[in-house]
């Protein structure tokens, strides 16, 4: 036994050792918090954060056996471990790209780092909650940290507006979720997913239906599904771009994971009314997200709407409440991390330059000046559009499979039609990069870290697209874990 294990054994909580990743992340956050008071060196702070998170990610690999701890408030299984691993890794990627960005913007806020890490901790708690209470705590920790992250540019009007909208909408979402939790508790007498599952199995009454509907609304708000998406474009546009990337990829994926977990483990599959709710929300998200994105001239805002549309694509898999649907959701979520973070880091790399405004006009002739970067962006765009051999195609393919196997043809058709609409704006970016002459003189300065991140993610998008077997296998395993968990305990 290591010292840590002995220490925690002393606390008397069974299986405490499976909490090591969370403890490491928490210690990192606190360390950065304290460090930030004494030093102005951004490099030191970001190094400490990265090292701490890397150790956290590695510690996940040491956990060989899942367990329930904190007396049933916390579950560590392959599902949560896998998601935690990806969340931490992508948070690291976001953090390393934050440093050059804030440096060039001359906004020295050390708060960025520990807020991101606290937000990450919230997500980690969220994805491994078998209980509405820990679920709620995790969700709130994530959300509150993100509100502040968006609004940290106090002097910028847009930042304030974005943060304010996000706070109000997010707060409303939280209120709705707590109301739903109260109703569920009133009906079933428990917060525990498994207990709720047994209680509601054969029941269907108005109270429960309302509770589930409220829960869906609250979660949809957090996942920025239409019609609860109004905060998304503003918050995404206002936040510093690497933070936007963090929100659009890591936070989103954690939210999808928790939606999947709550829905599948707490509410029975055999009469899954919730799947209709998600199907409608997904359909509306695809339509609105894609059509509004068509009108955007600012690429950052366009990507924000594209992320709403992707919420639609990913949640559409819930319209097929069976193993195939869950696998498709997990797969698409995991691979969406690569595209979303890559796209935003691409913007952040260019945004450091004073004469870059994220406007589509700035993309003119980019392929001439930065052929390699333009190629990466081309890969992201075609991946989001869903053209093979990029991984975006495999994601949509999985969703199609799930929808058609459950005979949800209407949603499949909506997906097809909106995908075609989305070609309009993704292709525009490619066309501006490749088919126009450059309007602005000179090359842009790019940091090697950013070049590496964008390149690495783009290559992964291609590699996983060509050989998706590993990721499908991961998704399959996670799905089976999830389904095995139903009603156990």
């Amino acid at each position: 036994m290591t010292i840590v294990q002995q220490l925690v054994a002393g606390l008397g909580v069974p299986n405490f050792q499976v909490l090591i990743p969370e403890i490491i992340v928490l210690i990192t956050a606190l360390l950065v918090f304290v460090l930030e008071l004494f030093t102005k060196s951004r490099i030191l702070i970001s190094t400490v954060s990265v090292v701490g998170l890397a150790v956290g990610a590695l510690s996940i690999l040491t956990i060989s056996e899942g367990a329930i701890t904190l007396y049933g408030l916390y579950i560590v299984d392959s599902f949560s471990l896998a998601f935690k691993f990806f969340l931490i890794v992508f948070t690291i990627l976001a953090i390393v790209n934050l440093q050059p960005y804030v440096e060039s913007k001359k906004t020295y806020y050390g708060e960025y780092y520990y807020l991101i890490i606290f937000s990450l901790l919230g997500m980690m708690i969220m994805v491994s909650s078998p209980n509405l209470v820990s679920f709620y705590i995790g969700l709130e920790l994530m959300s509150v940290s993100t509100y502040i992250l968006v609004g940290l540019w106090k002097k910028d009007y847009k930042s304030k507006e974005g943060a304010f909208k996000y706070l109000i909408m997010g707060g409303a979402g939280t209120a709705i979720i707590s109301y739903a939790i109260a109703l569920i508790y009133g009906k079933t007498g428990s917060f525990d997913f498994a207990r709720i599952f047994h209680e509601v199995q054969d029941k269907s009454d108005i109270g429960l239906t309302v509770a589930v509907a409220l829960l869906i609304v609250g979660l949809a708000l957090k996942a920025s599904a239409v019609p609860f998406h109004f905060w998304t474009p503003d918050a995404y546009e206002a936040a510093p771009t690497p933070i936007t990337g963090f929100m659009a990829s890591v936070s989103k994926i954690a939210t999808y994971a928790v939606i999947l977990r709550v829905m599948v483990e707490a509410f029975p599959l055999n009469n899954a009314i919730w799947s209709y709710g998600w199907a409608v929300l997904a359909g509306v998200s695809m339509v609105v997200g894609n059509f509004v994105a068509l009108k955007q001239k600012n690429v950052k805002r366009m990507l924000a709407y594209s992320s709403i549309a992707h919420t639609g694509y990913i949640l559409a898999a819930l319209a097929s409440p069976n193993g195939m649907g869950f696998t498709a959701l997990i797969f698409y979520s995991l691979v969406y991390l690569f595209m979303a973070l890559g796209g935003f880091i691409f913007l952040s790399a260019f945004e450091k330059n004073g004469n870059w405004t994220n406007d589509i006009e700035d993309f003119k002739g980019l392929a001439k000046k930065h052929p390699i970067m333009a190629l990466y962006m081309l890969i992201y765009m075609f991946s989001m559009l869903g053209i093979p051999p990029t991984v975006g195609f495999m994601g949509k393919f999985g969703v199609f499979l799930a929808l058609i196997s459950s005979n949800v043809w209407w949603l499949a058709v909506v997906l097809v039609v909106t995908s075609i609409v989305s070609a309009g704006y993704y292709l525009r970016v490619v066309a501006y990069m490749y088919m126009y002459e450059p309007v602005k003189e000179g090359r842009f300065y790019l940091n090697p870290i950013e070049k590496f991140t964008v390149g690495f993610l783009a290559v992964m998008v291609l590699v996983i697209g060509i050989y998706p077997t590993v990721f499908w296998e991961i998704s399959n395993v996670l799905t089976s874990v999830l389904i095995m968990n139903i009603g156990v305990r």
């Binding site: 195609f393 393919f397 490749y434």
Partner: protein
């Protein structure tokens, strides 16, 4: 009827797909000046490989030859499964020869040379992949990959309206192919539900006996994807735009290879998979085919832009392929396949001719052209042969296919055959019109024009060598079609085996 599989001793097909990709990677890494020779050499190697396959293909019986199969995504029963029958093989061969021509022609490209050749090389790999894939997901992947380089080729190296044309091309094709994808997934799921087999292999889906209504639905889903690609009337509007704006080599590939994917899809998938639906839709397809033939031939006559004229003529010729295919008999389908090959050669050559004229006179408009023949005799001869082959002069390739297609159609519907046959006259008219307005009418030339023309250079070596292979094979097919018909006969038989029995 289950086909035999002859495994490849040497993975010749995979190698043919990989060579252009590897060449693209090399071009990417090396200096710009190596781009052209590397591309030409790699395409010639692919052409040699495909010719080797063509010559060693065993046409007796129906066998899938040079067959390879490896697991790819085992969770869904998706594999990388390639092989050729005569239909695939002729199309691969056509692709290979068209790309040799395109690369040789492209030696005068100066704008963004590296990207240009990389785009074409990736396109070549994807096109070959489409024709050899027997796994539906692999097929779909190749089918879609092809969109990206073609989008860039039209959009970057095209003329003034290029971005509009490229986007239109992309969105039209993408629209069709998503419905194709839904159709394929539907079949896959149905197969899983019925037989508990997870497989996207062509042959497993072939064994499926579908309910009549389902057959109709799947037929329509797939047909939408293919019809846009062919393109059949009324989905053809992207084609003139794309052709007019694309660079010459892009037009050649578009006409010679990409259009064939649509008709290939009909012959390969719709007929064997949905025999009943094919019979049911025969009148519809005949109607659309005849409209395409007559209407677009009329449109072609009305054009003054020579590339647009050739583009419309392509739609018209593809109409023959459609009616030949849906005659659902041996002659018709044979004729359709031969027409596909022949149209690949002739339309490629005609677009080269248009490119040649533009390069010399900087215009595609008929009013700026005319009277060239005397000044560029070699070109005029080759152009004449291509035009005649396209119009269907006996002894050249165009005649054989269209004659067979009409023969097949005549057995089923005299009216359709008559209407389509009459339009051959219109076809001859616009081809001769095109030739007359660009090559003859020397007496209309002003003195200064004559002065200008006397400085025109005839075909240079690269141009000559891109024309020659096409023209040679127009004669080869035209004079000895038997070899080709013999080659594809058993494949056609297989395609029709559920419809005519046996």
């Amino acid at each position: 009827m289950t086909p035999e599989f002859v495994n490849a001793g040497f993975p010749i097909i995979t190698v043919s797909i990989l060579i252009p990709l590897v060449a693209a990677a090399i071009v990417f890494l090396l200096n710009e000046k190596f781009a052209k020779p590397i591309s030409i050499v790699s395409s010639v190697v692919v052409f040699i490989l495909s010719s080797y396959m063509l010559l060693t293909y065993d046409p007796s019986g129906y066998k899938i030859q040079f067959y390879e199969k490896y697991a790819w995504i085992p969770q869904f029963g998706i594999s990388y499964e390639v092989g050729v029958d005569a239909l695939s093989l002729t199309m691969v061969w056509l692709t290979a020869i068209s790309f040799v021509v395109a690369f040789v022609w492209s030696t005068n490209i100066e704008k963004r040379v590296k990207e240009y050749f990389i785009a074409f090389l990736v396109l070549e790999a994807a096109c070959i992949g489409v024709f050899v894939a027997w796994d539906l997901v692999a097929f779909y992947v190749f089918w879609e990959v092809m969109l990206i380089p073609m989008f860039l080729i039209i959009g970057v190296w095209g003329y003034s309206e290029r971005i509009y044309a490229a986007t239109k091309f992309f969105i039209y094709t993408f629209f069709g192919s998503l419905f194709l994808l839904i159709g394929v997934i539907g079949m896959y799921i149905y197969n899983y539900v019925e037989n508990d087999v997870l497989s996207t292999s062509y042959f497993d889906l072939l064994k499926l006996s579908l309910h009549y209504n389902l057959e109709i639905i799947f037929f329509l889903l797939l047909a939408l994807g293919f019809a846009i690609k062919v393109p059949m009337w009324p989905f053809h509007t992207w084609l003139p735009a794309a052709h007019v704006q694309a660079p010459t080599a892009g037009s050649v590939i578009l006409a010679a290879v990409l259009l064939k994917m649509g008709t290939y899809g009909f012959v390969r998938f719709n007929l064997p998979w949905f025999p009943e639906a094919s019979k049911y839709f025969m009148p519809v397809m005949f109607t659309l085919g005849v409209i395409a033939i007559i209407y677009t031939a009329m449109m072609a006559i009305a054009q003054t832009h020579i590339k647009r004229l050739i583009a419309y003529s392509s739609v018209s010729h593809m109409g023959f392929v459609t009616i030949g295919t849906f005659a659902l008999n041996q002659e018709g389908v044979n004729g359709a396949i031969i027409t596909m090959i022949s149209h690949g050669l002739t339309s490629g050559a005609l677009f080269l001719a248009a490119g040649f004229i533009y390069e010399r006179l900087h215009s595609y408009e008929m009013k700026d052209l005319g009277g060239m023949a005397k000044f560029v005799p070699v070109f005029a001869t080759l152009f004449m042969i291509s035009a005649m082959a396209s119009a269907g002069l006996p002894g050249l390739s165009g005649f054989v296919g269209e004659f067979l297609a009409l023969l097949g159609t005549f057995k089923v519907s005299i009216l359709t055959a008559t209407l389509a046959g009459l339009s051959l006259v219109v076809g001859a008219a616009y081809t001769l019109w095109l030739y007359k307005r660009t090559m003859f009418e020397e007496e209309l030339l002003t003195e200064e024009k004559k002065e200008e023309y006397s400085k025109l250079k005839d075909l240079n070596t690269a141009e000559l060598w891109s024309f020659l292979p096409l023209v040679i094979f127009m004669f080869v097919i035209g004079i000895y079609p038997n070899w080709w018909i013999n080659l594809i006969n058993n494949t056609t038989h297989f395609v029709l085996h559920k419809i005519v029995g046996g």
